[in-house]
């Protein structure tokens, strides 16, 4: 077990959820949390108190939608999937994120700039 798990940064969680749904198709809340943890190789822990409000926020913006269905294990679960608007937004958010990352990178290692 890793000694420290980093909490997911506010704002980055939205993009993680969107990417997860893009990659996995319809998925329930637990599945999304597990997937994020797995992808981060257990470096991140997803707090349900943040996850569910985040899912709600994305729904309110009509980026994702939810409906009751059956999970992979045959259990009744609420499944989230990307809307058409969501598909579009994933791209935008990705670009945004990359811009931030590259900017941050320049701050962190200014020597490499030229």
């Amino acid at each position: 077990m890793t000694a420290e798990k980093t909490d997911v940064l506010q704002g980055t969680l939205d993009l993680m959820i969107l990417k997860t749904l893009q990659a996995m198709g319809p998925l329930h809340g637990y599945g999304i949390a597990r997937r994020i943890e797995q992808v981060s190789v257990d470096a991140l822990s997803v707090n349900q108190g943040t996850l569910y409000p985040a899912l709600l926020r994305l729904q309110q913006r009509k980026w994702i939608r939810s409906e009751w269905g059956t999970s992979g294990t045959g259990r009744r679960a609420k499944l989230y999937s990307l809307t058409r608007l969501g598909q579009k937004k994933v791209g935008e958010e990705e670009e945004n994120w990359e811009r931030i990352v590259s900017t941050m990178a320049r701050f962190l290692s200014p020597a490499e700039q030229d």
Binding site: P53, Q60, R75, A77
Partner: protein, 924 residues
Amino acid sequence: MDWLREIFSRSTALFHRQRLNEDLDEELESHVEAAVEENIRRGMAPDKARVAALRLFGGVTQIKEAYRARRDVPLLTSLKRDVFYAVRRLRSSPGFALVVIATLALGIGANTAVFTLVEGFLLRSLPVADPASLYRIGDRNTCCYHGNFESADGDFDLFSNDLYRRFKQTAPEFEQLAAVQAGGGGYTVQYGSAAPRPLRTEFVSGNYFSTLGVGVYLGRPFGEADDHQGAAPVLVISYVAWETEFGRDPSIVGATVYVQRHPFTVAGVAPPGFYGDRIASIPADIWMPLSAEIELEGANAAVTQPTTAWLYALGRLRNGVQKTALEDKLSAQLREWMGEWPRFTQHGGAAIIPRQYVKLAKAGGGIQKLQQQSGANLRLLMILSSVVLLLACANIASLLLARSTTQRMDIAVRMALGAARFRIIRQILIESLLLSCAGGVAALGVSWLGARAILTLAYPEAHYMPLNAEPSWPVLGFALLVSVMTGVVFSVTPAWAASHAQPTESLRGINVASRDRASLPQRTLVILQLAMSLVLLSGTFLLTRSLMNLEHKDFGFQTANRYTFQMDLEGAGYSADRTTGLYRQMEQRLGALPGVTHVSFARYIPMGGNQWGTCVYLQGGTDSGNEDKCFSDWIRVSAQFLDSIGVPVVRGRGFTAQDGQSSPLVAVVNQAFVKKFFPNQDPVGKHFGREGAKYSSEYQIAGVFSDFILTDPRSESRPLFLVPDTQQFAGYTAAEDDAAEKASMFLGSVVLQVAGSPTDMEMAVRKALAEIDPKLPVFRFVTYDSVVAENFNQERLIARLTAAFGILSLILASVGLYGVTSYFVARRTSEIGIRMAVGASRSLIVRMVMRGAIAQFAAGLALGVPASLLMDRLMTSFLFRVSSYDPAVLAAAVVVLGLGAGAAAILPAIRAASLDPVRALRTD
């Protein structure tokens, strides 16, 4: 865009919280189950798997809270909870809620009603284009025909057609200048096969509609081209008359209607909402060009008489015109014009011409005749209703203060349990706002009904008065704001204080009557209420007494058991010389009706709102030329007139059948006439005349009758002479004088004296008259008493409204005193128990409770008596034969207030005295 979707989603979530909550529960549960399943798959024991899953999951409630906070609008949901809580609390004390709401409704409602009328009357603009640029030449309200200097200080406002045209030509400062008839007229109008009916008419200059910038609803307005001698007579009908008198008949445009049997073409129908150039209790039904007066009045037409003033001038001023310069210019015109007429220059008149002038007055509100008459009354009502609003606010304040003390413990408990101060205050705020809103809604109803009632009471004849009773929104808003502020201040401030007190202290203190009296603010409020109530009550008594004095004044003639009605012989097509025969015929027919003892005809009747004046020329006297010195009223009547109104002849004789066309002309005069023109002489046999010194032997005085009031009950009897309907003077040389004499032969008023109480007099009379001439218009059949009563409509209205306000204030003040005294008893219940246990008698307890109430009453008087005296001084102009300083009135007001206050205080006192000491000791 995202935020918009978010808001939309959040607000829709408000409406199905229940379903969404269940949905969330299920989702979180399925999340945990999925985790358990996975744990089991990894090889954990089922119970351990669940524990691990739950531990990892974290606090379910916190998650739900965070989720909900995001899902809908948390502020709103908690507000909703607070509102429901406030409603529950108010429903648990319905008496309190009802009293507050009723107080608000009456206080705000009464105010809004009165201010609505003030706005409609005094502040309203004419429904015309750009009313702000309308100005009137003249700032007074002289009416209706005048032929001389108009006022002692030289201020002119009534003009002849000739003078109006002079102004119009020489004052290009006016874009347009119109003239309107000063007094309203009435003619009989007939259309198609319908029965002829009397309508209100107004002569206006041809440019009237274009000056006001008013179009028509149908047809066309008349213009300058329609207003000259010889033009085809046209008229415009008001929208209201078109609806009520002509049944919205669109084919009336271009059709011929008959006015006094003269054919007129209907040019158009005025637009809805246009009521003319003034607010009148009975607005004009028909407008006709000035020149149409010639058609209708012939040689008697005022429009052709160059010095007969009968028009107001109303025009649209060009931008940037200097008003004082224009006033000077117009005044100079006026003086120049007067200098051209002997009527003004003779008898030393030339010397006072330089003092004559005109003033310009804003006319955006129209000719402010009714406004000036009713303005003072409305202002008095405004003051009264403001006092009532103050009283209402004071009552609400003291009720809320009393309530807040009982809430103190409540607040302490909630604070101790950890409630946020913000939430406590907010909840109390919501409660007071709820009350205010409920009161506001009720006030809306009260104000609507109130304004309607005032209008109906004030102008019972005015069915189409261009005023509506719709509440004035700014005023309603203002009154509501005042009462909401009162509510907020007096509920939130104590709550704020209570929430800052240490909960433990409050909780410890609840069983101890630490302060055994109502708080100082509460007592102060009650004292103020009592004082204000005294002011209103004394005003009520003064006005009521004044009204009684007016109504029961001896007018010098009898009205009981008498009916009167109007008829229009001229409109029915009779000529002046045929009238006498008709009167005799009617006299016979009507006199034969069962119960009728006297029938008489008169040009107009005393206290009927009309009056004809003339200059009297004594035979052998000097022609003073001064209207004040020669002025007398006169009426043409039938022989039985004096008998029919119960006026005795004190000297000489009244008219008889012998006074015919072939015998010498006679007149009878009243005592005031004798006093003025024949002091210390026997007037019988003396001669006098009208219309000029050369006619000074026209009438011989046959007798003297005792004085009676002709128009104004507030003034003394003025000189009056009567001439018989059987004698027409044929000697006038001027055509206009002859026409006026002929016109005076038409007696429009009939008086019937009856014995006992014959049933359905009106039907019998109409039937009898229809047998003589079915086309004869008969209208306004009423008792003579009601004709007289109409003179006091305004006074009655003011007295009644003041009385209503006075009673309201008495109730409010009594409720206030009752509240404070009850509160005093409630707070001292245990103390009263102890006192009674150690032997205090019940009467001692009553005295103890009453002492506080009496002290407040005394303080209220100390404030109220001087305030009443001051207020009564302000009302002097409204009073008739009552001194504004009337100790009896003040004493009556004090007694009534004392009775109210006594009742309010004695109830809690008796309750206190009848307490069972044992139980009283056990209470808090």
